[in-house]
């Protein structure tokens, strides 16, 4: 329903760990006393200030501080996880004991365990993930107001608004395990999103447009005015959208929708889906899975990256992995467990939301740009779809079958002719990846997964 930038913390070598290192050490020794053979602990805290302005007035102001501790214990080859926000001594002691008891009730899994001690991150480079700028409430309100006002000023057809939201947050992550590893990092983020509504007086129809930016450093954030104007442009250009007849045509995915396609690729190469045989890219390592225009990296140490971090959710050093090279699948995304299941090592992609078992996630996962501008790509299409929005969940990761709600613009003779909506696009991801025949030069990171514009040779568009 609403586009919300996803955030993850990064690090700063200079920040203190607020006593969490000692807390983690205490928990680890307590776990050992309760019978754990191995364990790891994550402690995270953070604070957020968010203001939402709607039609020029403050609609919502939210302020929060939170903290959470996550514990994973192994009793031999059995394991359990737990989490809490109650840091009182009695409560934590009870939790440690309960978690060890819980581990003893599940079945042994020969593959379970911490990473090997020699895999733990040894260096902790400053990845420029933290900015200590503290913005006042008034300042944030001002930013949101300016963003929304710019959207209203940009076009008289912008008549209403879902609001503008400015959010600043910062936090810290401390991870320790029974190998003696301890690491910590700080992160911050600043974001502004604006969601104006344009209306067509003639048909009384409405369209929403959303635009945003999110950065770890406040100084890098795009101006409120540029975000507001772009949001307005995105709302207004959808007015008068109609359906088109069902037919097979080329489809140009813009940055946002191409990013969503890349996120599907990311899920398909994640270790958990693979060892469960629930991915359409099963047994494809070393084989051609995409057109030779496609090279994909996952880079955990990109400076200032929204998905960057010095170590992953198990303390394993992050790195830059080549996932696809000129169309050939060269690496999966793995944590320790899924790696062992596949007979491989962790790629440093353990994602750990505090309190859950590690799973696999991207760091900064992106498609390497080529040389064509988006305009050149559109102009290569005689008749087709320029896709700007996708809705729904019609993706079967086991088979690759793909069918989603879509809207965008119809391309006629290389130009955008009119907006379209209430249509679907369908195909199979296996074929779609091979059918990418152009890649744009317009890579921009607005999240952990990013792609330039791409063109797929042909897909089924269903309309009327």
């Amino acid at each position: 329903m609403e586009l919300r930038p996803e955030l993850q913390s990064g690090r700063s070598a200079t920040e203190s760990d607020g006593g969490y290192a000692q807390l983690a050490a205490d928990i680890l020794s307590r776990a050992k006393a309760c019978g754990a053979t191995e364990a790891d602990v994550v402690v995270a805290d953070g604070q957020t200030l968010s203001v939402q302005v709607r039609v020029g007035v403050v609609d919502r102001l939210t302020k929060a501080r939170e903290k959470r501790l996550g514990l994973r214990v192994f009793v031999g080859k059995r394991s359990a996880t737990s989490s809490t926000c109650d840091f009182s001594r009695e409560s934590l002691e009870r939790l440690v004991a309960e978690t060890c008891t819980l581990a003893k009730t599940v079945v042994e899994d020969p593959m379970s365990g911490l990473p090997e001690a020699n895999q733990m991150a040894k260096d902790q480079p400053d990845l420029e993930l933290y900015d200590g700028t503290v913005l006042s409430t008034e300042n944030q309100i001002e930013w949101a107001k300016r963003g929304e006002a710019a959207a209203f000023a940009a076009d008289e057809r912008v008549t209403n608004s879902e609001g503008a939201e400015f959010e600043s947050s910062s936090g810290r992550v401390v991870l320790a395990n029974s190998h003696g590893f301890i690491g910590s990092y700080n992160g911050s983020s600043f974001s502004l999103s604006v969601a104006p509504i344009a209306s067509d007086a003639r048909t009384s129809s409405m369209q929403r447009g959303v635009w945003y930016d999110v950065q770890r450093k406040f100084a890098r954030l795009a101006s409120a005015e540029s975000i507001g104007r772009e949001a307005a442009r995105r709302a207004v250009r959808r007015l008068g959208a109609r359906r088109v007849a069902t037919k097979r045509v080329p489809v140009v995915f813009d940055q946002e929708t191409a990013g969503s396609l890349l996120a599907n690729l990311c899920s398909a190469v994640s270790g958990y889906g693979l060892y469960k045989r629930a991915s359409f890219l099963l047994d494809q390592l070393g084989r051609t899975i995409a057109s030779d225009l496609i090279t994909v990296y996952d880079d955990g140490r990109m400076v200032g990256g929204l998905g960057s971090r010095p170590f992953d959710g198990e303390g394993v050093a992050t790195r830059k992995n080549t996932i696809v090279e000129r169309g050939v699948l060269t690496s999966y995304l793995l944590d320790t467990y899924s790696g062992k299941k596949m007979g491989m090592s962790s790629t440093g992609n353990a994602a750990r939301s505090v309190g859950e078992s590690p799973s696999v996630g991207p760091t900064n996962f992106y498609l390497v740009p080529d040389t064509k501008t988006p305009e050149q790509i559109i102009s290569s299409v005689k008749e087709g779809l320029y896709l700007t929005e996708l809705i729904g969940f019609g993706i079967n990761m086991v088979t690759g079958d793909y069918s989603r709600g879509a809207s965008g613009f119809w391309i006629e003779n290389g130009e955008l002719a009119f907006p379209v909506e209430e249509i679907t696009i369908a195909g199979n991801l296996k074929q779609m990846l091979k059918d990418i025949e152009m890649v744009g030069n317009d890579l921009v990171f607005r999240g952990r997964v990013a792609s330039p514009t791409i063109k797929i040779a042909e897909m089924m568009v269903a309309g009327n």
Binding site: E108, R277, I391, V398
Partner: protein, 476 residues
């Protein structure tokens, strides 16, 4: 009267709540509340025939909110000392831009929730882990027994036990205990390199015995296995506009997406919904009557009271095709001058209240489900769905079939691959020409997302025929 015993769990007294609410009763503030929440969630999961994961999560905190006109000030904390509460109150009060309150809020009238829809003992929800492990093991065996082509079974069992206390500036202090659980199963079938997935699940505000009653867990296992096996022989889905027959139960997700979200009061107050200004107008065919009902015993979407302490109820959204009402929370009801429906919900103490659905369904009609299928010359019969989504502003919605069949000359024939259906909310129900007498509610698996907040919901539907909707297959 004594205060609800649940308040003591948070180490807080009635005097403390009054103190904070007094602090919030500044000039310009229309309403304030404190929402205390304690939640314990447990899960066990199985794959490859072994129950290899168990997890427990504990959260506790308070959300403090004040509203002034259209403005909401909100703060939350996982610490519950007097100082933390005061700090949160001062943040919430900031939006009214006035000094600390001096007025006294009314002495709380302690209220019990209006209903007692899920009287389940805590011990019946949080059963010992070995019992959960045994349940999952039986599911694995049953799914594999169903067909040797089932190669992997993934199952998880989740429970949550939530205690909430709501103290308001109106002088109510009311508590509720909200158990919830869910069993979810997915099976992977494999044959000659063709791999397919099938899923099924269920649950509600029920105790553990629900899953063993009539071997419900084994029925779920067979259903998940059956769907995976059916999909092994699925052909490409058709593309284009055609009649679609929706089976009863979970396909009610149509209502949730097509009209439900559009009838939540916030979007209509802001006039950002495709349904704004349509009260009293025809938005569906005569055979459609749709309600939102939070009072069905033991249902996943049910609540004894909403998260503002308002009793839940049964709200008629559409009556014989005419739009009758919106679903409200206190803020939007006050600003719009309409009545409270008990739909003010929040994911947790960390989130603000929004108008949300509970159990949303269409009432039974008079058609025989077999006649409905027989009336279609060429179309789609959709039995089960994955998720759905809607763009509130332009009304376009989608929902994606996970088990569907072709209808050819009035008969259900070949299974087809999953496909997304897309339509326009304010129009689609006008195209409903037949409604079956077989109303079914879903099994209790739905989670609705809005503004980043997830809440459990239910849906329901009799078999219905939609004369035309766009089906997003690959075959022309």
């Amino acid at each position: 009267m004594t205060e609800p015993i649940q308040l003591a769990m948070f180490g807080v007294t009635e005097t403390d709540t009054r103190h904070v609410l007094d602090r919030l009763s500044a000039r310009g503030i229309d309403y304030a509340d404190l929402y205390f929440e304690s939640r314990v969630a447990e899960s066990v999961s199985m794959e490859e025939g072994i129950v290899k994961r168990a997890a427990k999560s504990i959260s506790q905190g308070v959300g403090v909110r004040a509203t002034a006109g259209e403005k909401t000030g909100f703060a939350y904390s996982d610490d519950l000392t007097k100082k933390d509460l005061e700090l949160a109150a001062d943040t919430a009060r900031y939006i009214a831009d006035s000094p600390k309150g001096t007025r006294m809020v009314p002495v709380p009238i302690h209220k019990r929730p209006a209903h007692d829809l899920y009287p389940v003992e805590r011990a019946k929800v949080e059963v010992a882990t070995p019992e959960r492990v045994a349940l999952l093991n039986e599911i694995d065996a049953e799914a594999r027994r169903y067909d040797p082509r089932i190669k992997n079974v993934m199952a998880s069992f989740n429970t949550e036990y939530k205690v909430v206390v709501v103290a308001t500036s109106e002088g109510t202090l009311v508590a509720d205990v909200q158990p919830l659980s869910r069993l979810q199963i997915s099976c992977i079938a494999e044959e000659d390199g063709n791999r397919q997935i099938g899923s099924f699940g269920g649950g509600g505000r029920v105790g553990f015995e629900f899953y063993r009653d009539q071997n419900r867990h084994l029925q779920y296992a067979r259903e998940a296995a059956r769907e995976a096996i059916v999909n092994l022989s699925a052909v490409e889905a058709p593309a284009g506009v055609m009649p679609v027959v929706l089976a009863g139960g979970w396909p009610g997700i149509l209502l949730h997406e097509a009209i439900g979200h559009g009838l939540e009061a916030d979007f209509n107050r802001k006039k950002t919904s495709a349904f704004s200004n349509l009260i009293g107008k025809r938005v569906a065919s005569e055979v459609c009557t749709i309600v939102d009902d939070g009072t069905l015993p033991f249902r996943r979407g049910s609540l004894n009271m909403d998260d503002e302490g308002t009793p839940t109820g049964r709200t008629i959204l559409i009556e014989k095709g005419i739009l009758r009402g919106y679903m409200t929370d206190k803020l939007n009801a006050r600003l719009m001058g309409i009545s409270l429906t008990g739909n003010g919900r929040r994911e947790s103490y960390q989130s603000v209240v929004l108008p949300r659905m509970t159990n949303t369904f269409m009432l039974a009609g008079e058609s025989d489900p077999q006649d409905i299928i027989r009336s279609v010359k060429r179309g789609l019969y959709a039995v089960s769905f994955g998720g759905g989504q809607v763009d509130i502003t332009n009304g376009k919605f989608v929902f994606s079939a996970s088990e569907a069949y072709l209808i050819e000359d009035g008969r259900v024939t070949r299974p087809v691959k999953g496909a997304t259906l897309i339509g326009n909310g304010p129009d689609i129900l006008k195209k409903v020409s037949m409604v079956g007498h077989d109303l079914k509610l879903d099994n209790g698996i739905g989670t609705c997302g809005k503004d980043g907040q997830s809440v459990p919901v239910g849906v329901g539907l009799p078999t219905i025929k939609v004369d035309e909707i766009t089906v997003g297959g690959t075959q022309q």
